[in-house]
């Protein structure tokens, strides 16, 4: 049953009208606009690359979050899912996993290419990819809480970033910080802090998101 829900969410995200490809295109488009704004100096681009790509990745992931629960809530399928033997916490965990597989993972896989285009040296590209692989689950997890809280609001997509972005500050700081440290040849605990943040966020968020879904369905 978990598998059925997971594959359903993945299919919905990847088929026509789904948001997986859109998030990826958004990520690439934002990253392309930055050199147009700040200039083509590769030295400068190399310094800002990690920050820009991390912020773009977080925004791209947020873009598809507002539909995570809302679409199912609006067409009634969330009621059906809630009637299944799965607990709402499990449902939330599965939906987070599906969201990460269709946004966080593709963003991570695309990031080395963009990293190279921003002039990052190979080892920094590796750290960037590793940091996104470690940190994007936290983005999906934190975002899912926001999506569950706002799912009954008609314009929830506008409030969601305000709720989630401040809470994701640690992920951006440690993710981009790890790459900066690698550029400067320093060893830092950034990746470990990022991993700790991601583990705690991923473990706790199904409970918060499940509670939020429950209160929104109760009304």
């Amino acid at each position: 049953m978990i598998g059925a829900l997971l594959f359903r969410d993945i299919r919905l995200a990847t088929r026509a009208g789904g948001s997986a490809a859109l998030a990826l295109a958004f990520f690439a488009a934002v990253a392309t606009l930055v050199p147009l704004g700040v200039g083509v100096d590769l030295k400068l681009l190399m310094r800002v690359a990690a920050g820009v790509l991390w912020v773009a990745a977080v925004l791209a992931a947020l873009l598809s979050l507002d539909r995570l629960f809302q679409a199912d809530f609006e067409d009634g399928s969330l009621d059906v899912i809630a009637l299944s033997p799965l607990s709402l916490e499990t449902v939330a965990a599965v939906k987070i996993a599906a969201h990460w597989l269709t946004t966080g993972l593709p963003l991570t896989l695309l990031s080395p290419l963009l990293g190279v285009m921003f002039g990052l040296p190979p080892e920094a590209v590796g750290v960037l990819t590793l940091s996104l692989a470690t940190g994007t689950p936290a983005v999906s997890a934190m975002g899912a809480i926001g999506a569950a809280l706002t799912m009954s609001i008609r314009r929830g997509g506008l409030i969601l970033p305000l709720l989630v972005l401040p809470l994701l500050a640690p992920a951006v700081i440690f993710g981009a910080g790890a790459v900066q440290a690698a550029l400067d040849g320093l060893s830092s605990g950034a990746l470990l802090f990022l991993a700790a943040f991601a583990v705690v966020a991923t473990l706790l968020s199904p409970f918060a998101a499940g509670a939020a879904v429950r209160l929104n369905l109760a009304g």
């Binding site: 809480i145 609001i153 305000l162 972005l165 401040p166 809470l167 640690p170 939020a212 009304g219």
Partner: protein, 237 residues
């Protein structure tokens, strides 16, 4: 304490102690500010040190407000007291205002001292993030029409913020020390002398009491508003 969770009892008790609270607030805040402005100029900061008596207590109060917001949110989630919903709802705008006050007075002080209205110092940045968390909380409350549902959703968000705030604080500190090991902000604190300490303590107490006064008034207003609304609704039916 749970005795006061009854709105009726809260209204009776608060109408009795509110005048006293106002009086003590005016006294301590007035004394703190007046004594603060009578202090001699600091040997490094000159006259701008007087902003401290407005700035530091505002920051303290903003953080205390978030603590109280999280605490009342916990009460409202666990025990479902309507009064704690009201208390949490009304604490948030107050906390946001104190945060803004702290940021504004801080940047006015920063201009002559650091040469810039805004620097990406760890404390400033985490305070700005605190403001966004307050704004998100208020926005969520306003966006959900059903009051009970709004209260519980907002309470979940408040607790999430409370868990995350120390992590944000830590990460911002880490970020700042990694990127710009400026010494000016760290070394800028010669131990505070007694001349400044007393007015600061007084205005700290004054700000705290001011928060509690405004909070009580806002809770009372909200309760009265809800009563008025239910009377209107029952009249219309």
């Amino acid at each position: 304490m749970f005795a006061f969770a009854n709105p009726k009892r809260f209204m009776d008790a608060s109408s009795a102690f509110l005048p006293w609270l106002v009086a003590v607030t005016v006294l301590s805040l007035g004394a703190g500010v007046v004594l603060g402005f009578l202090t001699p100029p600091d040997y490094q900061q000159g006259e701008t040190v007087k902003l401290m008596f407005l700035h530091v207590p505002a920051a303290w109060t903003a953080m205390m407000a978030y603590g109280l917001l999280a605490l009342t949110s916990l009460f409202s989630l666990v025990w479902r007291h309507p009064l704690s919903d009201v208390a949490a709802k009304t604490a948030a705008p107050l906390g946001a205002v104190f945060t803004v006050l702290g940021l504004i007075t801080g940047s006015l002080w920063g201009r002559p001292m650091w040469g810039a209205y805004w620097v990406w110092d760890a404390r400033l940045t985490s305070f700005l993030l605190l403001l966004f968390i307050y704004l998100g909380y208020i926005a969520l409350w306003n966006a959900i029409e059903d009051e009970v549902r709004a209260a519980r959703a907002a309470a979940i968000l408040a607790l999430l913020g409370a868990v995350n705030l120390p992590v944000i604080e830590f990460s911002v500190d880490w970020w700042n020390t990694l990127h710009q090991g400026e010494s000016i902000f760290r070394a800028g604190g010669p131990r505070i002398s007694a001349v400044f300490l007393w007015p600061l303590a007084l205005s700290g107490i004054g700000y705290t009491l001011l928060f509690f006064t405004l909070w009580t008034v806002r809770i009372r207003t909200e309760i009265l508003e809800r009563r008025a609304r239910s009377i209107l609704l029952s009249g219309a039916a």
